[in-house]
């Protein structure tokens, strides 16, 4: 229906109307079916009753009684509000995501700045060096820190050997380990858009500022930083949004007590087999992320407009 309605707006400039319809129709239908429709189903399940859902597979097959559905419908969401576990998991996730995004920005900005100031030849190599880790298995990069941070791990052994500490520092299974893991895992996603933005910055603007007597630090704050706003937003959203729902890092580095919403969702789904509560958790997470996602999209489409 939706793709058919598009037909009048398509004009045959490059491809035959028929070909154009196929080109837009195939990915459109695929995404509609496998990306958009699933969200509606999550919403539906989140409004279903917990009681039916305790045996995991029958849960969805007994949706006949509408009265029951409606009467229990907000129960899962009320539970999320009621139980301090969920509320604190959401708050903690947002906090962890916020501070790790800030950490990535503080480390990543100078890196991207230095990259953008290198010679073109150096830039291609540096770009490869930044991209390579983001292609390497995420799981394995998190795993690498398990060996470093544990009580008998390399960092503790090294500090003990130096005599700086008498007993091993407890780093694994703490929030500190989660921060390290997230900053480590997501740093390339911060650096890449920042670099893409800074490299396009017109050097003549900086020269003009300095010719007009602006000191470099002042130039940085008043010219460079405001002009790189787009890159800062894109990088921050690329780190912040997935981090809020992060599962692997809190699971492996944060230990049993780490409260992150992605981990709670996983536990509700796989351990408690409570599909409606897991769905409600996902819906609330999506609602929290709507503004950051919209910000990211706005930047993304603006970037595309600028390119073409």
């Amino acid at each position: 229906m939706k793709t058919l309605a598009l037909k009048p707006t398509l004009t045959p400039s490059l491809t035959l109307p028929n070909g154009r319809l196929w080109t837009i129709g195939v990915p459109y239908l695929w995404l509609l079916l496998f990306f958009a429709l699933p969200f509606l189903i999550v919403l539906k399940i989140s409004l279903s009753s917990m009681a039916i859902a305790i045996p995991p597979y029958e849960a969805l097959f007994s949706f006949t009684d509408e009265v029951m559905e409606i009467s229990l419908n907000l129960g899962n969401f009320l539970l999320l509000l009621d139980d301090s576990l969920y509320v604190s998991a959401y708050l903690n996730s947002l906090q962890v995501a916020f501070f790790s995004t800030l950490g990535c920005l503080l480390i990543g900005y100078p890196m991207a700045y230095a990259m953008a100031r290198s010679t073109p030849r150096q830039q291609t190599i540096l770009l490869l060096l930044i991209m390579l880790p983001s292609w390497t298995s995420f799981l394995i990069r998190v795993y690498a820190w398990m060996g470093l941070l544990s009580d008998t791990g390399l960092i503790n052994n090294f500090l003990l050997w130096l005599g700086l500490i008498d007993s091993p520092l407890r780093m694994m299974n703490t929030n500190f380990a989660v921060y390290i893991g997230i900053i480590y895992g997501y740093l390339p996603f911060m650096v890449l858009p920042l670099y893409a933005n800074l490299v396009k910055l017109d050097p003549s603007l900086l020269e003009a500022a300095s010719d007009l007597g602006s000191r470099s630090l002042h130039t940085f704050w008043t010219v460079t930083l405001p002009l790189s706003k787009g890159g800062i937003i894109a990088g921050s959203m690329l780190v912040f949004i997935p981090t809020v729902g992060e599962f692997v890092i809190p699971e492996l580095l944060g230990g049993p007590n780490s409260l992150m919403i992605g981990k709670i969702l996983w536990q509700e789904f796989f351990n408690n087999r409570d599909w409606p509560v897991a769905s409600a958790l996902a819906i609330v997470m999506l609602l929290l992320l709507i503004i950051p996602i919209a910000l990211f999209h706005r930047y993304q489409s603006r970037q595309m407009e600028a390119e073409s």
């Binding site: 035959l16 837009i24 999550v42 991209m131 292609w135 394995i140 959203m237 992060e246 692997v248 595309m304």
Partner: protein, 280 residues
């Protein structure tokens, strides 16, 4: 004087941060690689060089099975997402502004940032629902993981390919059409050769993303299909082990080789294009 010195200071600060940041990114992986050759069974004690964990890896059938499952899924997901992503990229780069184009580009770029747990959960619920209403898929396994991976990987392909499509010189496409080529001919004979490096890069990126995914595969897979990250995860949960160190080293090696290849191909074609431009 003051201007010069403060400028030098700032430059060196960002340079120092760049090198420190790169060290931060690479040292942990380097240590992992070194420790995979550790003869000692105790992962934190160095017991001399040995490659025995690699040998043990080759005898581990569970891991070998998972590797072949993962490679198959990654191959087919990368291929499907190349088709879907390229079509979407073509719409985003060449079609006029319309409501359909706007919703498509919103849908295709959403998986770039969407948390994995949400994508995984929503697709699993869809599959369960579909099985209930239309009787397919009867059980979850490689096919359902393939669908899930094709969906989220096509977002990355679309980004890579559409930026190349925008950069490319459109006059040659128009020339082909003026000379009587059908749009399909013009696409396959003119556009594809020009954007080929980005198609390869997009395919490789999708391949490595699919190979690496744990969360979405865990939700959408069934008992029949266990992917490599799922095996690694269940063993890593129990702690660090020398065999996993060896496996991790092999994965790092494979991924770096693939990435270097993609980078080299993209660079070579870029150079060639620059040369052609200069000649012209």
């Amino acid at each position: 004087m003051r201007k010069l010195s403060s400028r030098g200071l700032r430059l060196s600060f960002s340079k120092v941060m760049l090198w420190a940041g790169l060290a931060f990114l690479y040292v942990p992986m380097l240590i992992l690689v070194i420790y995979s050759f550790n003869a000692s069974k105790l992962v934190t004690v160095w017991g001399g060089w040995s490659a025995k964990w690699y040998g043990a890896l080759l005898e581990n059938e569970q891991i070998l099975d998972a590797v072949s499952t993962s490679l198959k899924i990654a191959f087919f997901s990368a291929s499907m997402s190349l088709i879907l992503g390229t079509m979407a990229a073509f719409v985003m780069a060449r079609f006029r502004h319309s409501w359909g184009k706007m919703t498509l580009s919103n849908m295709i770029s959403a998986p770039l940032v969407m948390p994995d747990v949400i994508i995984g959960l929503s697709l699993l619920l869809l599959f369960v629902h579909m099985a209930d209403t239309i009787g397919w898929p009867t059980d979850r396994g490689m096919t359902t993981v393939w669908i899930a991976h094709s969906t989220f990987c096509s977002a990355y392909v679309a980004v890579v390919v559409s930026s190349r499509l925008r950069e490319m010189d459109r006059s040659i496409e128009e020339a082909a059409l003026d000379l009587g080529a059908t749009p399909l001919q013009s696409f396959f004979l003119v556009t594809v050769p020009v954007i080929a490096p980005s198609l390869i890069a997009g395919w490789l990126l999708a391949f490595s993303l699919s190979l690496d995914d744990l969360v979405i595969a865990s939700f959408t897979s069934g008992p029949g299909a266990t992917t490599l990250p799922m095996v690694v995860f269940s063993s890593v949960r129990l702690g660090v082990s020398p065999q996993i160190n060896a496996l991790a080293t092999l994965i790092i090696l494979a991924v770096s080789t693939t990435a270097l290849l993609a980078w080299y191909l993209a660079r070579r074609s870029e150079k060639r294009q620059k040369l052609q431009m200069q000649e012209a």
